[in-house]
């Protein structure tokens, strides 16, 4: 016997009793194959159908010596199998399942002629439903052949080279151009003009046109919000530039809007944050 836990056996018994089915001690759930020594007639019944059928057929054969090869199995093997089965007293069918693989692999034809297995499970079932796996719970994989290359060396070499180039550029630039360090901060001495960092100069530019609540909070808030929801607003599934003329023009307008504001704020604003031309005056811009 395979090791079936005691409580499962007990539960199985109770279920069978409740359903009014004949209960026998040997009926363990999902018993894979009968073992030698198990009560012969019943042992085959619990095994899965395609294993059990040839066994039953073989059990019927076991009286007569085999002289012909059946289903591609050599005759001498069938004969040996038959002898073994005869030798195993009482557990003929079980012995086939355990040792005589030759017979077990026999073609299905004789199994069919052998008829239904002698002892089926409840309601004629020979298998038990353990669980139902819903289709949705299996991850769907769409395997399409893709043109792929190895990350090493193709991608890593490019990444390494680009990183080295950038590092070299930053180092050389830093060796040549000093970062600004103006005089010590003095709260009583306001520089004219006072400018925010360049990436906020677009907002500072908006301050000249709108109330600070609009320019400093509302507009940038809306801009970030629009950016964040863009993928949910743009329902067009295509990524072909020709199919996305509207999205591309909107985004380009968005970029240009900020770029122009930043450029004006950076280079076209002089003392008092008044509009100046950078070629007429000193450029009031520090990074």
């Amino acid at each position: 016997m395979a090791e079936v836990p005691e409580h499962l056996l007990r539960r199985s018994q109770e279920r069978r009793k409740a359903l009014g089915l004949p209960s026998d001690g040997d009926d363990a759930p999902a018993e894979p194959a009968a073992q030698p020594g198990a009560p012969g007639a019943d042992a085959g019944a619990d095994a899965p159908a395609d294993v059990e059928a040839p066994e039953a057929a073989a059990a019927e054969d076991s009286g007569t010596p085999v002289t012909e090869s059946v289903g591609g199995v050599p005759a001498h093997l069938l004969e040996r199998s038959r002898k073994r089965k005869a030798a195993a007293a009482g557990g003929a069918a079980a012995e086939v399942g355990g040792g005589g693989t030759a017979t077990a692999t026999k073609a299905k034809a004789p199994a069919m002629t052998a008829g239904a297995p002698s002892g089926s499970g409840p309601g004629g079932h020979t298998q038990r439903l353990l669980t139902v796996v819903k289709a949705g719970s299996i991850q769907q994989t769409k395997a399409e052949a893709q043109d792929k290359v190895h990350t090493w060396p193709h991608l890593l070499a490019i990444e390494f080279a680009s990183v080295m180039i950038l590092l070299a550029l930053v180092t050389i630039f830093s060796a040549l151009v000093k970062a600004p360090l103006l005089g010590l901060a003095d709260i009583n001495q306001t520089p004219n003009p006072s400018k925010a960092p360049w990436y906020f100069l677009g907002l500072q530019e908006l301050l000249t046109m709108f109330h600070p609540m609009v320019a400093g909070v509302t507009i940038p808030g809306i801009a970030l919000g629009l950016l964040a929801v863009a993928p949910y607003v743009d329902k067009n599934p295509s990524n072909k530039p020709n199919d996305r003329k509207f999205a591309i023009s909107m985004f380009t307008i968005f970029l240009m809007f900020w770029a122009i504001l930043v450029i004006i704020g950076s280079f076209f604003r002089g003392e008092g944050f008044n509009f100046v031309f950078p070629w007429n005056n000193h450029v009031f811009f520090e990074l």
Binding site: D147, K148, H150, S162, L181, K195, F200, L227, N239
Partner: protein, 269 residues
């Protein structure tokens, strides 16, 4: 005759020593590579265990037995390795973040975030510390460059329509990363405590003070006081060197993870 033999022996002996040294070196090397320590460092299949000869199998092993496996799959789409497609902008943004972390740690050794000392420590760094000026310049320029590269990366992604399903959420994370990058740059702007820093931050925080309803509270939270001073400096210093980097690293981890889970970078146009 005897002399000849002697010479022969001598040269044999020399060769013997040479062989011995190379044999011993080989043995030491083999013992090292067979040792428990070595094998505990390099995973089974690592090229540092079994050597590397160019073959598809070994090319896979290079990635599979490497921490880079967290960033890259063994194979990527052919069009994805074209520099003209991504311009490396995302990866370079990440590299700039690493460069900023390294140079930033260096700067932290010399910097004191108080209104009395901050400017002086930066001045000392510029003039008295070996490589201090270079590292500060690198930190500054890399920071501006990172704002630019993150921004360009976002534009690239938009023009390729790469934010579309299933990558919508990764785009949202990207917008958060852009915001965090701006905040990191802005908080760092104050730290030198020079006129540029003070007044740029004054302009910025005055703007935030106009937040509807909570304006004064927002401004107070940003300044840590009624007006800009040592409290502000400490607050922005902690934000700049600890809190914002911590937050951005978490979002970057999710961002990179989603890039892989959503099937690598988006398809060709």
């Amino acid at each position: 005759m005897a002399k000849g033999n002697g010479n022969g022996n001598g040269s044999d002996q020399g060769a013997g020593i040479g062989t011995k040294v190379s044999e011993r070196a080989t043995k030491v090397w083999d013992d090292t590579r067979g040792s428990q320590a070595w094998n505990s460092i390099f995973r089974p299949g690592s090229i540092y265990r079994k050597g590397y000869t160019d073959s598809p199998r070994n090319r896979s092993y290079v990635i599979m037995n490497n921490v880079l496996f967290h960033l890259h799959p063994v194979k990527v789409k052919r069009h994805a390795v074209k520099v003209s497609y991504t311009l490396c902008l995302g990866g370079l943004s990440f590299f700039l973040f690493i460069l900023l972390t390294v140079t930033g740690i260096f700067l932290m050794f010399f910097y004191r975030p108080t209104a009395q000392e901050a400017w002086q420590t930066v001045e000392n760094l510029e003039t008295a510390v070996a490589f201090g000026s270079l590292v500060r310049n690198m930190h500054r320029w890399a920071a501006h460059l990172m704002v630019l590269s993150v921004f360009l990366h976002m534009s690239r992604v938009f023009y390729h329509g790469a934010y579309k399903s299933p990558r919508e959420f990764n785009w949202v994370i990207g917008v958060i990363l852009l915001t965090l990058t701006l905040l990191l740059s802005f908080t760092g702007y104050l730290l030198p405590w020079d006129q540029l820093a003070l007044w740029a931050v004054t302009v910025g925080t005055n703007m935030m003070g106009y937040t509807p309803v909570l304006g004064n509270q927002v401004k107070y939270a940003l300044l840590g006081s009624k007006e800009i001073g040592t409290d502000t400096l400490l607050r922005w210093y902690v934000l700049h060197v600890l809190m914002l980097p911590f937050v951005i690293v978490i979002f970057m981890a999710v961002h990179f993870w989603r890039v892989r889970k959503d099937g690598g970078i988006s398809g060709p146009l």
